[in-house]
């Protein structure tokens, strides 16, 4: 252990160590700024300071130790004072500096996904989570896939050029996304769990609730043991995912060429909770989409055994979800790409 020199006896060489220490510490105590501290450092520890000069001239070990101890003491005191002052300065800044927290921030430019894309992804994700794949069907179709394979009887109004856009007698712009179901079933054996979303085309005069192009989302499940109960359970889950877990569902008999039995799904109105409002036309229920058990004729068309396999299919309109859930008053606005609308979603 190093022996601590006696301060009283520390008058060594040409300096009075005790006086030096006293003076330095006093000067340091008076230092109010970093510059003041720096001046103290130069005066007492600088190259031309008495201490440094004495250290350069010292010859005996004892004096050397004493002076070095003094140097260390002064250095530590200076550092401490410096830290103290900078801490005080920080405290002052922290006390004084304020912003108006309600001022706007500096934003990065951000774009927006179209509302229909957002709904499309949501729909896809719901079914991806259930184990379904997403199929991109083609939009220009043969009448064979758009009508015949889907069991549309001759004379069905959809087959008329009054309702459907024909390119020639045997080619149409698809009127529903269902041809993708046929093409998928043709290409693979069951089980099939798929959804298909995209543009469909009908000869509808545009108005607030009709657009000649709109987006359909369809699902198909074909497997051993698929039941109507499975369909209703799936639609119930879908309704709750899209419109809220408090929603109730109701199912009513309907008729479509491609399903038997056929069911129309209704969801309890999310706006009035069933008590009646203009959105649900005072019925408390909102029609959300058609569905049913795949007609065995479709299975025969694609070569599936209708005894062994059963399946369900359903079709929804994405715009309809946008209208119901987000209150879009006019479908045509979704095609105008007005940034004031796009930017809301």
């Amino acid at each position: 252990m190093q022996r601590r020199p006696e301060r009283d006896l520390a008058r060594v060489a040409a300096v009075d160590a005790a006086a030096l220490e006293r003076d330095a510490l006093a000067a340091l105590a008076e230092a109010e700024t970093a510059d003041d501290v720096e001046r103290v450092r130069v005066e007492y520890l600088g190259r031309k300071s008495a201490l440094k000069l004495a250290l350069r001239e010292v010859r005996d070990r004892e004096t050397g130790i004493a002076l070095n101890t003094l140097r260390e003491t002064l250095e530590a005191a200076i550092d401490a004072r410096e830290a103290e002052l900078s801490r005080a300065e920080l405290d002052r800044r922290l006390t004084e500096e304020r912003v108006d927290v309600t001022m706007p921030g500096e934003r990065a430019l951000r774009g927006h996904l179209h509302l229909i894309t957002q709904i499309r992804r949501e729909f896809e994700d719901i079914f991806l989570g259930l184990g379904y794949t997403v199929v991109d069907g083609r939009e220009v179709e043969t009448t064979r896939y758009n009508f015949d394979a889907l069991n549309f009887p001759p004379g069905h109004p959809s087959r008329s050029p009054l309702q459907t856009l024909f390119l020639d007698d045997e080619t149409v712009l698809r009127t529903e996304t269902s041809p993708a179901q046929i093409r998928t079933m043709e290409a693979q054996e069951p089980p099939v769990y798929m959804v298909s979303l995209g543009r469909v085309y009908r000869r509808d005069t545009p108005d607030a609730t009709h657009s000649p192009t709109f987006h359909q989302a369809e699902g198909l499940a074909v497997d051993e043991g698929i039941t109507l109960a499975d369909l209703l359970g799936t639609l119930d889950y879908l309704c709750k995912q899209l419109f809220g877990s408090d929603r109730k569902t109701d199912f009513r008999t309907h008729h479509f060429p491609f399903t038997e039995p056929s069911v129309e799904a209704y969801v309890s109105c999310h706006l009035c909770d069933g008590s009646g409002c203009t959105v649900c036309r005072h019925s408390g229920w909102i029609e959300v989409g058609g569905s049913g058990m795949v007609d065995p004729n479709l299975f025969e068309f694609v070569g599936y055994d209708p005894e062994r396999y059963t399946g369900f299919a359903f079709g929804w309109g994405l715009e309809r979800i946008a209208v119901l859930r987000h209150g879009i008053p006019d479908l045509r606005e979704l095609w105008r790409n007005d940034p004031r609308l796009l930017g809301q979603f």
């Binding site: 430019l109 951000r110 774009g111 927006h112 996904l113 179209h114 894309t117 079914f127 991806l128 259930l130 184990g131 379904y132 794949t133 997403v134 991109d136 220009v140 043969t142 004379g155 050029p161 856009l165 024909f166 390119l167 020639d168 045997e170 712009l173 769990y193 543009r199 005069t205 000649p212 192009t213 497997d223 043991g225 698929i226 039941t227 109507l228 109960a229 499975d230 209703l232 359970g233 119930d236 889950y237 199912f251 009513r252 008999t253 309907h254 008729h255 038997e260 039995p261 056929s262 058990m293 065995p296 059963t310 979704l334 095609w335 790409n337 007005d338 940034p339 004031r340 796009l342 930017g343």
Partner: protein, 765 residues
């Protein structure tokens, strides 16, 4: 279709309320759009203020020529004085009376006792429109004699009625009839069906009916009946009221009967003035080419051989199943009637009705396929009513057909229904459901389909549907077992989402634009032969015009700092085959010139870990000097004629683009050993592309040159006319060791030498 409740309840006894009936029908049968309340208000005993009255005296009004002062017995002992403006009745007539205080649908305030030109009037003798039973206001309602004065009017006439407004699906034409609805209600509510009990009038003074069917395929059946001594006149009030509720206009008794019976059975009927039928004949045949017929709506129609007509001995007298002809319609003078209760095939009716743009209550039913067996009961009910209401004699009956179709018999397994529905329904219950809907079920489950469902139910699965719809409210909510599922987006689908997200992050917003455009740069783009509008004519082969329009909208709106739009959609490229080649494309348009488009492309390729290489091209939608192509598409400055200002645009084929994106990125060690960074500047001729310099540098510096980046291009006196100085940032790095300064210098030399050799580049720094 409108179904008045009191009429419906004539055919079905059920304890169910109208709301319950509507609910059950909605779930299991058809859409009940709404329940209408018609007639007088049912509040504060209002219905009780309407009574049957007998006119005891009908005298002149002393102060008004057009008014009469009546004394009316309404069962109160003393007669009431009522002033009346109608003249279609005399003393002794049975009439409908509203007492003071009554609320009438046509009045804003309750009926008052009041004085009319000095004569007290304590009530009102009612016309049909005043209680919602019709539109006629020409005279008051004259009721049949024999009803006790004071009888509540509601016991005699449906002045208080609720009407179901229903829309059956196309396969359920049987529900476009009161009987069909009643059968459904009985089955669904546990009620009892009571079909109309009709005593077919006997044929008297029989005479032959001359009916020939030339085309049994189009007209499988024709029941013709003759009536003589027919007294055409208005229908009784109850019949007028029912037609009114069912949205049909009362015309005259015989015509009203045909409409009424159509509503009861769903089998449209027609009545001809027999005297106007040449030769008293009916021939059901195809129209002759160019044959003309003036239909009941007054329109002269030119027919084609695809149209089926009812003809007499000489000419077409009706468009079969769609509309009668004007010349042979039942006028007030008619005394002999030929009643038609036929059956027509649906498709032919549909085609003619579409071609002629003529849809009627009749064609609406025929085109869906009416049960051929209905013609007989419909003819019987109509005959009974014509005899009863028009005092006629039925003098002839003929039923022409070529054999009626046997209804199908379908083998059914109740277990199959359970299997499809996912709910166990007992055999007994399934049997009872089917029988309730009119199916005849044998002990071995051979199910005979009722004739009125024969077109719709032909297979076991159709019977499964019958069971399913009956139990639909009880079906549990389950999810499929999904033992073999694999739900994931494909690579392209994942990358499409990535592209969307990257572009949104870069400040672009997604636009949706139409697949059909007014025109397309490709002359061979696919055109619609019969477009809806002039701006949706051709299937687009490029997304850019739609995006230009979206950008124009954005400029007009003027709310954005920097406009950027993109769209991911299909284009439709002519393929020479039936179906075009559909390609997924990305289109984008951003404010700024070439560099803006290039920047978007670079961000995108970077996000996909794909290399972007561009070559100069020309493209009709791009500025000729500022256009490039990549392996996947084009990018450049939008041609200035398309949109004011400087815009960058790009259009990339996503399948091609995504093929260049690696499935997984392999790690490259850039952390262990430091890079040596050096900058060089070389002067080259103006037409040397910086891309070529970079490529040459890369080639010369491989494999240790890890990065080459152009960071400045300078033109000025020091470089000389027609030349430019290109500054390149170079980074050399080895994954195995720290490079020495000498190695880096050597590589730099090699690169400079290569640039000098290939481009005459002079090193400036």
């Amino acid at each position: 279709m409108r179904a008045p409740l009191s009429w419906l309840r004539e055919y079905v006894t059920t304890s169910a309320t109208v709301e319950e009936i509507a609910r059950r029908l909605n779930v299991s049968s058809l859409e009940v759009e709404r329940i209408l309340d018609v007639g007088v208000a049912d509040v504060d005993g209002n219905v009780g203020r309407f009574l049957v009255g007998r006119v005891l005296e009908a005298g002149a009004h002393p102060n008004a020529d057009r008014l009469r002062v009546c004394q009316v017995d309404v069962g109160e002992g003393d007669a009431r004085q009522i002033v009346c403006g109608a003249w279609n009745f005399e003393a002794g007539a049975t009439v409908a009376v509203a007492l003071p205080g009554a609320l009438l649908p046509v009045l804003d305030a309750p009926l008052d006792e009041r004085e009319l030109r000095g004569q007290a009037s304590r009530g009102m003798i009612l016309a049909e429109d005043e209680v919602g039973l019709g539109d006629d206001h020409a005279g008051i309602m004259v009721l049949p004699d024999g009803i006790e004065p004071g009888t509540p009017l509601v016991d005699v006439l449906p002045i208080r009625e609720r009407v179901l407004d229903v829309t059956p699906t196309v396969n359920r034409v049987d529900l476009l009839s009161m009987v069909g609805l009643a059968r459904e209600v009985a089955a669904l509510t546990g009620g009892e069906l009571r079909l109309p009990d009709v005593e077919d009038p006997a044929v008297v003074d029989e005479e032959p009916v001359d009916v020939t069917i030339e085309d049994f395929e189009r007209a499988p059946r024709y029941v013709g009946r003759l009536f003589r001594n027919v007294a055409i006149g208005p229908s009784p009030q109850w019949l007028r009221a029912r037609l009114h509720f069912a949205e049909m206009r009362p015309i005259s008794n015989v015509v009203d009967v045909t409409n009424y019976v159509m509503h009861v059975y769903g089998n449209p009927l027609h009545a001809f003035d027999l005297a106007k039928l040449a030769g008293g004949r009916i021939v059901v045949r195809r129209a002759r080419d160019g044959e003309e017929l003036r239909t009941l709506d007054g329109t002269l129609r030119r027919l084609v051989p695809e149209d089926l007509v009812i003809a007499d001995g000489e000419r077409a007298v009706a468009l079969a199943g769609i509309m009668g002809g004007e010349e042979t319609e039942i006028s007030e003078e008619a005394t002999s009637v030929l009643l038609e209760a036929a059956n027509f095939e649906p498709l032919g009716i549909l085609r003619s009705s579409e071609r002629l743009a003529l849809r009627t209550a009749g064609s609406n039913r025929w085109e869906k396929g009416v049960d051929a067996y209905l013609a007989e009961p419909a003819a019987e009910l109509a005959s009974r009513m014509i005899v009863d209401l028009a005092g006629a004699r039925m003098t002839g009956h003929l039923d022409v057909h070529d054999g009626l179709p046997e209804p199908p018999v379908v083998r059914f397994r109740p277990g199959r229904a359970d299997h499809v529905i996912g709910l166990e329904v007992t055999d007994a219950e399934q049997r009872s459901i089917l029988e309730g809907f009119g199916f005849d079920v044998s002990p071995e489950w051979d199910v005979r389909v009722p004739t009125w469902r024969a077109r719709d139910v032909t297979r076991e699965v159709d019977l499964v549907e019958e069971v399913a719809r009956a139990v639909l409210d009880h079906v549990p909510l389950t999810l499929p077992l999904r033992r073999h599922v694999r739900g994931r987006l494909s690579k392209d689908q994942r990358l499409r989402r990535l592209v969307e997200d990257v572009l949104v992050g870069a400040g672009l917003s997604e636009a949706y634009t139409w697949s059909l455009a007014a025109s397309d740069p490709r002359p061979d783009a696919i055109r619609l032969p019969d477009p809806m509008t002039a701006d949706q004519v051709v299937l687009r082969t490029t997304l850019l015009p739609g995006l230009v329009e979206a950008a124009r909208v954005a400029v007009e709106t003027g709310v954005e700092e920097r406009i950027g739009r993109f769209e991911i959609a299909r284009v439709y490229l002519p393929s020479g085959e039936q179906l075009p080649e559909e390609r997924w494309r990305l289109g984008a348009i951003v404010q700024g010139g070439y560099a803006a488009a290039k920047g978007v492309a670079e961000t995108l390729y970077d996000a996909l870990h794909a290399d972007l290489a561009v070559r100069r091209v020309t493209h009709p939608l791009l500025h000729p000097g500022k256009a490039a192509e990549t392996d996947a598409g084009i990018l450049g400055e939008l041609h200035p004629t398309l949109l004011e200002g400087e815009w960058g645009a790009l259009e990339l084929d996503l399948t091609t683009l995504f093929a260049a994106a690696p499935d997984a990125v392999e790690y490259e060690d850039v952390l262990t050993y430091p890079a040596v960074r050096q900058d060089i500047a070389v002067a080259v001729e103006e037409d040397v592309e910086v891309g070529a310099l970079v490529a040459a540098a890369r080639e010369a510096g491989a494999p240790l040159l890890r990065e080459v980046r152009v960071f400045d291009v300078y033109r000025g006196e020091q470089v000389g006319e027609g030349r430019k100085s290109v500054a390149l940032h170079l980074a050399f790095q080895s994954p195995e060791r720290t490079l020495t300064d000498e190695e880096a210098a050597e590589l730099r030399e090699t690169i400079v030498a290569r640039l000098a050799e290939r481009f005459g580049a002079e090193l400036r720094a």
